[in-house]
């Protein structure tokens, strides 16, 4: 699998993401600068976490207008695969490449803790290494992860099975009104979603920070292993 990571001013989890990708591919991903206008020949583009433009105005709002986003849009139109994590997810919603928006966490505080995610479907390149309804642990770290969408959008997401991950407890029970298991207050406990063609995935938590037993586990690894298997080259 050939992959690239986009760096915006203020991005800060590009190194974490590079470590995770290197771990499964054996080679370092290409780093792209937000002012680049062309993408190299890759299978996967990752928009990593961080505080692009300081999260000023709205998280991801300014990065969504970066020169590189035009190329990324074109890549998506050609059916390219894109993973947006945390700030990357926020950028994808700001560009409209994924529906909905991410509001301030319900408790109005930055949250940095482990959470559990339930895998809602396992027939996508992002999720196929897990069983359906599998539960895995992953860190999250954000101030604005409270997913919201209007009722029509939500109906479509749910109806077409475009929810990839939901916040859950360790047993996989989902309870949207419970701050323990749905820490940021996301609607329907949504933690990650897919585009209609399932080739774009945005999620708030950071599986890339749990790919090494030394750092506390490998629970996030299946995401990256799955991607590699999907693009054997």
């Amino acid at each position: 699998m050939k992959s690239a990571i986009v760096v915006f001013p203020g991005t800060n989890r590009e190194r974490d993401m590079a470590i995770a990708l290197k771990r499964v591919t054996g080679k370092a991903p290409t780093m792209l600068w937000h002012r680049d206008t062309d993408l190299p020949d890759v299978d996967l583009v990752v928009l990593p976490g961080g505080f692009s433009y300081g999260d000023y105005l709205r998280c991801g709002a300014m990065a969504a207008h970066s020169p590189i986003m035009a190329a990324i849009r074109a890549f998506a139109q050609k059916g390219g695969h894109i993973l947006g994590v945390c700030n990357g997810f926020q950028i994808l919603t700001e560009t409209g490449m994924l529906p909905g928006a991410l509001l301030r966490n319900a408790n109005l505080r930055f949250l940095s803790q482990d959470c559990h995610l339930r895998v809602e479907r396992n027939d996508t390149p992002f999720t196929h290494k897990w069983a359906k309804d599998a539960v895995f642990r992953t860190p999250l770290a954000h101030g604005d992860g409270n997913y919201t969408a209007d009722s029509q959008t939500l109906e479509k997401l749910e109806g077409e099975g475009l929810v990839a991950f939901r916040y859950a407890n360790a047993k996989g029970d989902v309870q949207a009104d419970d701050a323990e298991t749905n820490p940021n207050g996301s609607i329907n406990s949504i933690a990650g979603i897919l585009s209609e063609n399932t080739r774009i995935c945005g999620m708030m938590p950071h599986p890339e920070d749990l790919v090494d037993p030394l750092m506390g586990g490998e629970d996030g690894l299946p995401l990256f292993e799955g991607l590699v298997e999907a693009f054997v080259r």
């Binding site: 001013p9 800060n12 974490d16 505080f51 930055f110 940095s112 030394l214």
Partner: protein
């Protein structure tokens, strides 16, 4: 502002009349307003260390692994494989009282700059916080702002906040302490210093524009607080962590070239202290043209620009033929870049603005004739011995109360607002081990990091308290298996012009020095914050508890050998170290009996070293699989913390020690650890041979803590008691 320069203005600026006389003598004329401003900030307590310098010199600062000790922007130690760790701690106490969010945020920003200015990529932040009584609304506001500020800045720059400490005491009601520590990593042969060199070389300003922020901040932090403190508004600085992040990346990119001759962050006293120090250290002169300084507001005067403490700015001396390379890098990162002067051979700092010379000061006397005071110090009185005390409650009731008390309760509410994993190198997050553990990317090396100080011990006996703080930091690092290397300190005290405060200061340094020498644990950087007092409405002042916060760093050759504090399954729990049952100044005495009395626990540095070296060896050879040092709350609290950390229970044995149970279980005797091992007999024999006291005190298993009186407390129940305090406090 009054513009005539005279003694009255000099005093307003914080200079004494003798100091002003000295200025007149050096200048041979009445200084200009800008010149007076330069003298007043350079000779402020904050920049000149005039009350503390004499005593700081007594601290040990060298070891074979120390590359740069105090005197540079941060301390530098060799951690092997060609890498150096660069670290320092710094206070932002006064700003955090005035505006808790921005005060704490800019504190983090400032200490980050001290570290990356030397060429290091920051890899970890810690913070040592002291707040007033939790019962007052103002304390809650300060906690809320400080925690948000630390998170707001650290999370955005992408440096994980991995540890720290928090204490509460009414003595901090009007004067909280916010001490921030940053640790960075650099190649050992790529360290950047601040001594300017090369007459004619350009002096370059990078980062944010200069505004009227924090003018006279350095003098403000050298004065005690009065009722008007909250009205001192023009000095509030606002941090921009986004710009800081760009500045880190741009500086590191520039540092990978050979363009830099010298580099220095603009910290307290901004452009003044950075230019004066760079030129002074290099023995050259410097000429600045303020018209070229990037400015945020129109109409700024030379005085304002020289004293502004606008954040996120750096000063760099470049090789002249590399100026364009440097400019391109800063343009790429969309940061201001301006050549604002050059080095000269005059030995003077000359400041020009709009065609006028606004300041022309000889650098040598500015530095060399800076006042140094040998202030009178009263020897602290030894505390009276503690009379016999008795437990009013059952062991389990006391334990539940203690684990939920302000100084011992879980800090998860706090650290859950700090990104502790960004960077992907955090081996142990807050709460998982006695020190935070961070791996060095692409190596097997790891760092163990901690901050420690027990102010109530220091209040009772500053010397032993100073030694204890160092010993506890050393012990926390040892308890993970790391080899303790060096210390940074943040000495927070009251008004040094009072002999009893100066006496605390001198004694604490003496204690620290002794401990650092005995443990081979040199001080490589630090910060002094004096005048931490609040004037009360009745005219009296209240000083904080003497608080020599210690930040410390240890190293692992192989970080996979690190152990945490969570109870291991099916193990013997062994107590290391001697227990006499010292309850003086203990948390138990304060929380259960409401008394702050007696001498603090004795510090035996020989035992400390012997016990610690033994424990570390046994961790590294794999015998010890979990380890927790015994500190506040004694053995029983330590055991409960181990149970809560892993959810694995433990059955404790009744001690046949001849010591009263409350003294045995809650005494705070030093140099002790609880460790999990498989073979208790073999382990205790080995300890005995090494001269280390060791005894079996329990066995792990199940999910309950079983007390020697047979009462059981589930891990879950302990956790509920432990975790309730902060959320309840902050919701009220």
């Amino acid at each position: 502002m009054k513009k005539t320069v005279d003694l009255a203005l000099a005093r307003e600026f914080g200079l004494t009349s003798e100091e002003y006389d000295r200025v007149l003598k050096i200048m041979g004329r009445t200084p200009s307003l800008t010149e007076l401003g330069v003298f007043s900030v350079m000779w402020s307590e904050h920049c000149s260390y005039k009350s503390s310098r004499k005593w700081l010199r007594t601290l040990p600062t060298t070891a074979p692994w120390v590359i740069h000790g105090p005197g540079e922007n941060a301390g530098v130690v060799d951690i092997g494989e060609g890498y150096a760790a660069i670290f320092k701690m710094e206070s932002h106490n006064h700003p955090s009282f005035i505006e808790p969010y921005q005060g704490a945020a800019t504190g983090v920003g400032g200490i980050l700059r001290d570290v990356f200015t030397m060429g290091a990529r920051p890899v970890a932040n810690l913070n040592a916080l002291r707040f007033g009584s939790p019962d007052t609304p103002r304390t809650r506001q300060i906690i809320d702002g400080v925690v948000r500020g630390i998170g707001g800045y650290g999370n955005c720059v992408g440096v994980p906040t991995v540890g720290g400490e928090i204490n509460f005491h009414p003595a901090y009601d009007g004067n909280p302490l916010v001490n921030a520590m940053t640790v960075g990593i650099a190649r050992k042969d790529r360290i950047f210093l601040s001594a300017a060199a090369g007459v004619g070389n350009p002096v370059v300003y990078v980062g944010s524009r200069t505004g009227r922020d924090g003018i006279h901040g350095a003098t403000m932090s050298s004065a005690e607080f009065d009722e008007n403190a909250l009205a001192k508004r023009p000095t509030v600085q606002v941090g921009d962590p986004f710009i800081e992040k760009l500045l880190i990346e741009a500086c590191l990119e520039l540092m990978a070239t050979d363009a830099i001759v010298a580099i220095q962050d603009m910290g307290a006293a901004g452009l003044t202290s950075s230019s004066v120090e760079m030129a002074g250290k290099g023995g050259v002169g410097i000429e600045l043209d303020l018209d070229a300084v990037p400015q945020r507001e129109p109409g700024m005067t030379a005085y304002e620009m020289m004293l502004s403490e606008s954040q996120e700015r750096m000063l760099i001396v470049l090789r002249p033929d590399r100026t364009e390379i440097a400019r391109k890098i800063f343009e790429k990162w969309e940061l201001d870049f301006a050549v604002i002067g050059h080095l000269t051979d005059t030995g003077h700092i000359v400041v020009k603005h709009k065609g006028q010379v606004e300041a022309d000061i000889p650098l040598d006397p500015l530095a060399e004739e800076a006042p140094i005071y040998d202030r009178p110090a009263a020897t602290p009185q030894a505390p009276a011995p503690l009379e016999a005390v008795h437990a009013p409650l059952s062991l389990d009731a006391m334990l539940l109360k203690l684990v939920g008390s302000p100084d011992l309760a879980s800090r998860a509410w706090v650290w859950n607002q700090y990104d502790s994993t960004v960077g992907g190198q955090t081996v142990r997050r807050p709460g998982a081990a006695d020190a935070a553990i961070v791996k060095i990317e692409d190596t097997t090396l790891g760092l163990a990091l901690t901050t420690d100080c027990t102010p109530r011990y220091c209040q009772a006996d500053p010397k032993s308290g100073g030694a204890q703080a160092v010993a506890e930091a050393w012990r926390n690092i040892t308890a993970t298996g790391a080899r303790p290397l060096a210390v940074t300190d943040n000495l927070n005290f009251g008004n040094p012009e009072k002999p009893e405060i100066m006496g605390q200061f001198v004694a604490a340094i003496e204690g620290m020095g002794e401990a650092c020498r005995a443990l081979d644990f040199p001080v490589v950087s630090g910060n002094v914050s004096l005048y931490n007092e609040t004037r009360q409405p009745d005219g009296s002042t209240m000083a904080i508890l003497p608080t020599p916060a210690i930040g410390a760093l240890g190293v692992f050759e192989d970080v996979s050998k690190a152990v945490g504090l969570g109870m291991a399954s099916e193990s013997a729990l062994v107590l290391i170290g001697e227990t006499k049952g010292e309850l003086g100044q203990s948390i138990w005495l304060r929380e259960i009996l409401g008394r702050e009395e007696g001498p603090p626990p004795q510090v035996d540095l020989v035992a400390e070293k012997r016990n610690g070296d033994f424990v570390r060896n046994e961790i590294l050879n794999g015998t010890v699989t979990a380890c927790h040092d015994i500190a506040d709350g004694g053995i029983l609290v330590a055991a409960a913390e181990m149970v809560m950390a892993s959810g694995i229970g433990c059955e404790l044995e009744s001690p046949d020690s001849g010591i009263r149970p409350e003294a045995f279980w809650f005494g705070e005797d030093q140099a002790r650890y609880l460790v999990c091992v498989k073979d208790a007999d073999g382990f205790c024999q080995k300890a005995e041979k090494a001269g280390v006291p060791a005894r079996l005190i329990g066995r792990s298993g199940g999910n309950e803590l079983i007390l020697p009186n047979g009462v059981t407390i589930s891990a879950a129940r302990l956790t509920v008691a432990h975790e309730a305090f902060f959320p309840a406090l902050m919701a009220s």
